[in-house]
């Protein structure tokens, strides 16, 4: 069946360093991938997305990499700041308008 998972449940990084959060997915038919950030007591917030016809997409301080060969997705955060501390979810769907399936999440802690 479909599943999206994360390699590490927790990640601690020093302020100013770069963060890399990894995600594995199992459904080769997935076409659309999204990263969300969820702060305590809030709903998930969209960070960046990527389609399966791309292998890299950049936003402001964030980059998503997609490796379809090994079904791997990663989120890179440059110059990590205390405000980046949150739980990060990768999510996938067959199309950009289809049901979104979330992974279990990675908790990122930024050490000042």
């Amino acid at each position: 069946g479909e599943s999206v998972g994360l390699h590490l449940p927790t990640l601690s990084v020093q302020e100013g360093d770069n963060s890399i959060i990894n995600c594995a997915y199992s459904n080769s038919a997935s076409d659309y991938f999204i990263w969300y950030k969820q702060e305590s007591g809030k709903g998930p917030q969209f960070i960046i997305d990527i389609r399966s016809n791309m292998d890299k997409r950049q936003g402001q301080r964030v980059t998503v990499l997609l490796n379809k060969t090994v079904k791997h997705l990663s989120l890179q955060i440059a110059a990590t700041q205390p405000g980046d501390s949150a739980v990060y979810f990768c999510a996938e769907s067959r199309t950009s308008y289809d049901k979104v399936i979330f992974g279990p999440g990675t908790s990122l802690s930024v050490i000042p």
Partner: protein, 114 residues
Amino acid sequence: EAGVAQSPRYKIIEKRQSVAFWCNPISGHATLYWYQQILGQGPKLLIQFQNNGVVDDSQLPKDRFSAERLKGVDSTLKIQPAKLEDSAVYLCASRTLKGQETQYFGPGTRLLVL
């Protein structure tokens, strides 16, 4: 623009009681979602509406959960009767019908069933 609104923010009930949650999506968003997020897990879709019609309710426990979006705007999610395992955060999200694909989430309602 105003975000997705949900109420109440917190609810504590005893098992076998009933509870209802309310969601007001972003104005003009035709698609509305209800998710259940158990502590430490990612959100799980319960039901998806497009306007006032149900698109996907395959993961909704229909023996105790119900949802409606009668006028295609606000939506309510009800649990009757509640079980201990229903303790979770219930998230509402909305999206435009076409064009922008991003789902916008509300703050959620945190339910504790005792």
